[in-house]
């Protein structure tokens, strides 16, 4: 639905300040950026991560005592979906060299590289192949491909600064060094990054970048990357099989302590299936659908932290899960689009954030956590938020100023996806600004792993958002599409080499699940929760009240 008259009135205030803001921009002037101390101050006061009542200690497992959000603790302090005594491990339903859990960008690039090593690969995925946050990433992929002004060194510094200098140096170094090769690889597979006529790739800024190194494919960068690698996986159908609507729900180990497969759950037939594999790559992505602190999310329907749960039960430690990334700009109105991501590329291109009076209150290219905290402060503390008809507050993202700066039609041409989305609601974002508020976006932390993709469990590799440490306490824009490709490729390759050369065969077992259950009982946790969650449940109370059998274990409800 179009903006109601109340908002149209307020938009006039944005229009009133726009010419001066555009002039300032054209003259090279910017709203002053915060220094490191000021950043720290606003984060400590207004970022959702700092709310102590939002988290609690984990009582069991390798990270006992670690304080993270309740929603995640609920999942790790829960029982398996399967009774280990009931699963027949002696007759696997599938056997393969490399099992990849998750069919997004990380899993698919891992599959391609594993196949190139000569391995047979199975991708097990919860929804369809390619249904993942990768598909939704809009803004771009960072890589220092322009040696005359940029290099892995500057990329490294930017990543560390964005992550509050807490990142794992080896993971960061590998990420920045492998980045240009990932761009080369994607181009060679036919990914259509935006280019100038002479072939130079177009690049722009993102929050926290010192050089313009964000490569993009219009405003559907992730979708273009995902559909390209997926298409190539489909060409290699003899070696890469995909099992859809069958999420893994538990890892299988062998009696030598190595990872040796997984139990899948066919969501359509409610069967549990056993896959025996020589090595496993965990690429299940993130957890936005946990709706931490009731925030809306930009994430895919399946982003429910399954990989964290399975690997934690098997003994892989967690790191950096005490921070979660809130994307500064999610749609807060119209309600139908609530939570949907508005790419940082708008701010990268120079669109200002302005309050109810039409005034700027923050530099539009602060790192994401700082930007989000400043928006929350403006709404809850300064009280200059824009009231929405749904009783919430938002901030204007002044997209029309881009048309003023770069010519009429710029927004429509450069942001076709978002332009169509809003036009469905009767809003032309080349003419009217967007109403935004921070939204759950990225799981900064995850499973501990090394820069060769390996973990403390032999035969078990990690790639993408499910891993932690690369981004420290905060990820910069454009480094997640990069992360999934860099570590997808590395993990796929190394998992295949392990499968072909180093694997230690042994008897399959789910003993780790039995031990975990025992630990739950001994810790005094009283719960009938089971996990992984698999899918969020949006059933309303009036329906739920009549679903008498919905609580039975083993049903999805």
């Amino acid at each position: 639905m179009p903006y109601p008259d109340s908002l149209k009135e307020l938009i006039k205030k944005v229009e009133a300040t726009r010419p001066a803001r555009v002039e300032k921009k054209k003259a090279g002037g910017e709203f002053p950026a915060l220094n490191l101390d000021e950043r720290k101050g606003v984060l400590e006061q207004f970022h959702p991560d700092v709310k102590e009542e939002g988290r609690r200690e984990i009582k069991i497992g390798p990270n006992k005592g670690y304080r993270i959000c309740h929603e995640m603790v609920d999942l790790v302090e829960a029982r398996s979906r399967v009774n280990p005594d009931k699963v027949d491990l002696s007759k696997p339903d599938y056997t393969t060299d490399v099992l990849i859990i998750g069919g997004g960008g990380a899993g698919t690039s891992a599959a391609l590289l594993a196949q190139e090593q000569g391995a047979k690969v199975i991708i097990a995925t919860k929804l369809r192949h390619g249904d993942a946050n990768t598909m939704m990433a809009e803004g771009g992929i960072q890589a220092a491909t322009k040696g005359w002004k940029d290099s892995p060194y500057y990329h490294y510094l930017d990543i560390m600064g964005g992550g509050h200098f807490t990142n794992v140096p080896e993971l960061v170094s590998t990420l920045s060094k492998e980045a240009p090769d990932v761009i080369r690889w994607l181009l060679s597979l036919g990914c259509n990054f935006s280019k100038f006529e002479d072939g130079t790739l177009k690049t722009m800024h993102g929050g926290g970048t010192s050089r313009k190194r964000m490569h993009f494919a219009a405003d559907i960068t992730g979708a273009e990357m995902m559909r390209t690698v997926r298409d190539e996986a489909r060409n290699r159908i003899d070696d890469i099989s995909v099992i859809e609507f069958s999420p893994a729900v538990e890892l299988i180990m062998n009696d030598k302590g190595a990872c040796a497969g997984a139990v899948l759950y066919n969501m359509e037939t409610a069967e549990y299936l056993v896959i025996k594999a020589k090595s496993v790559v965990m690429a299940t992505g993130g957890s936005g659908r946990l709706h931490v602190q009731n925030f809306m999310t930009t994430n895919h329907y399946g982003a429910t932290a399954d990989g964290i749960v399975m690997a934690y039960r098997a003994g892989v430690p967690l790191c950096f899960l005490h921070t979660i990334q809130y994307h500064p700009t999610g749609v807060i109105f119209p309600e139908q689009a609530e939570g949907i991501l508005i790419t940082e590329k708008f701010r990268g291109a120079g669109a200002n954030l302005v309050n109810v009076d039409g005034n700027q209150f923050v530099f539009e290219r602060e790192p994401r956590d700082v930007e989000a905290a400043c928006i929350i402060r403006e709404c809850v503390n300064v009280n200059k938020g824009v009231p929405t008809p749904t009783g919430k507050f938002g901030i204007w993202l002044d997209s029309p100023m881009l048309d003023v700066m770069f010519g009429e039609g710029y927004v429509k041409k450069e942001f076709p996806g978002k332009h169509i989305l809003f036009s469905r609601f009767g809003i032309d974002i080349g003419v009217e600004p967007m109403l935004i508020y921070p939204t759950l976006h990225y799981q900064n932390g995850g499973l501990e792993f090394k820069d060769d993709g390996s973990t403390k469990i032999p035969g078990f590799y990690v790639a993408g958002e499910v891993g932690g440490g690369i981004h420290g306490e905060n990820r910069l824009m454009g480094n997640s599409l990069l992360d999934i490709m860099v570590y997808g490729r590395i993990s796929g390759k190394n998992a295949a080499q392990y499968a072909m050369n180093g694997v230690v065969d042994g008897e399959l077992t789910l003993d780790h699940v039995r031990k975990y259950h025992q630990e739950i009982d001994e810790s005094g946790i009283e719960t009938d929760r089971i996990s992984p969650m698999l899918l969020p449940d949006y059933t309303l109370e009036h329906v739920k009240a009549k679903q008498y059998s919905a609580e039975y274990e083993g049903t999805l409800r």
């Binding site: 609920d74 929804l127 249904d131 598909m135 939704m136 220092a144 491909t145 322009k146 040696g147 005359w148 002004k149 290099s151 892995p152 060194y153 490294y156 509050h164 200098f165 807490t166 990142n167 794992v168 140096p169 080896e170 170094s173 060094k177 240009p180 090769d181 181009l187 597979l189 036919g190 280019k195 006529e197 002479d198 072939g199 313009k212 559907i220 559909r227 390209t228 298409d231 489909r234 060409n235 609507f245 359509e268 709706h291 925030f295 809306m296 895919h300 329907y301 950096f320 309600e335 139908q336 749904t390 009783g391 169509i420 989305l421 420290g472 306490e473 089971i530 949006y538 329906v543 409800r557």
Partner: protein
């Protein structure tokens, strides 16, 4: 069972008008402002198939519907389309489609290769049903025509916003799966037809030769900050912060000719 998230569960707080919709022929009363996806969840459905990104880009939730007394077939993405009173709808979560398997290393980027992989292209009757059914407003018939004319670049451009929901394939008189053909075309254009980007190869070669290793080694040696013991490596972290703060920022207004004054850890002849 798991405690589950609640944020999207909420019924709109203001008392809202309910409208009847018919999900696969069965009547439900739902709030008038909801999208089809949220309306089905309001009615009590829990998605396994037919929901994906919930943001209009993944193509999982293609939906067809009709309204009483109107012969037109209407389409939309369930996550993006607001319900209408009396609509009769079904989702099409899957539709069988022919996808040619080809060896990527062997293709050269010629139209004939697309013709060979998908000879059904030439069965197109130009009925335009594909374009009419596309929820992304892509001129499907036009890109099919461009492919037939050998203009792969035009086809790639016209099909760029395709989310591969498959609705075009459900309506095609020629029984094509247009979106798979367009995917092959876009890949050929991206890798084999578009102008190459030599600056990428130069940078990859420089990295592989170890050109930046010394600079990276120095900065890595400064280590990292333990979030739970922030003073442990303070001296080094202060040095790291100093490097971070003094790194030269490229201004917003630069074009491709810009180069920083500080040439440390850069590459000569990189263009």
């Amino acid at each position: 069972m798991c405690d589950t998230a609640t944020i999207e569960k909420k019924v709109p707080e203001v008392a809202e008008e309910l409208v009847p919709i018919y999900i696969m022929g069965k009547k439900y009363e739902v709030p008038a402002s909801l999208t089809i996806m949220k309306a089905m969840e309001y009615a009590g459905y829990q998605y396994i198939r037919g929901a994906g990104c919930r943001g209009g880009i993944c193509g999982a939730c293609a939906t067809v519907y009709r309204k009483p007394g109107d012969y037109h077939i209407r389409v939309g993405l369930a996550c993006q389309t607001v319900v209408e009173a009396d609509m009769y709808l079904t989702q099409i979560p899957f539709f069988p489609a022919n996808r040619a398997v080809y060896k990527w290393e062997d293709v050269r980027g010629e139209a004939e290769e697309v013709f060979a992989a998908y000879p059904e292209l030439f069965r197109c009757l130009a009925c335009n049903a594909c374009t009419k059914v596309c929820p992304m407003d892509i001129p499907v018939m036009d890109y099919v025509a461009a492919i037939k004319q050998g203009n792969l670049e035009k086809a790639a451009e016209l099909s760029f916003d395709c989310i591969q929901c498959g609705l075009c394939a459900t309506r095609c008189m020629a029984e094509m799966a247009q979106y798979h053909i367009a995917q092959m075309v876009r890949r050929l254009v991206g890798a084999k037809i578009a102008v190459p980007s030599p600056h990428v190869d130069k940078q990859v070669a420089a990295i592989k030769s170890g050109h930046y290793d010394e600079a990276l080694k120095e900065v890595m040696a400064l280590g990292t900050m333990d979030p739970f013991n922030q003073d442990a490596n303070k001296e080094n972290i202060d040095k790291l912060k100093e490097l971070y703060n003094k790194r030269q920022g490229e201004s917003h207004a630069t074009d491709e000719s810009w180069e920083p004054d500080d040439k440390y850890a850069l590459l000569e002849d990189a263009r």
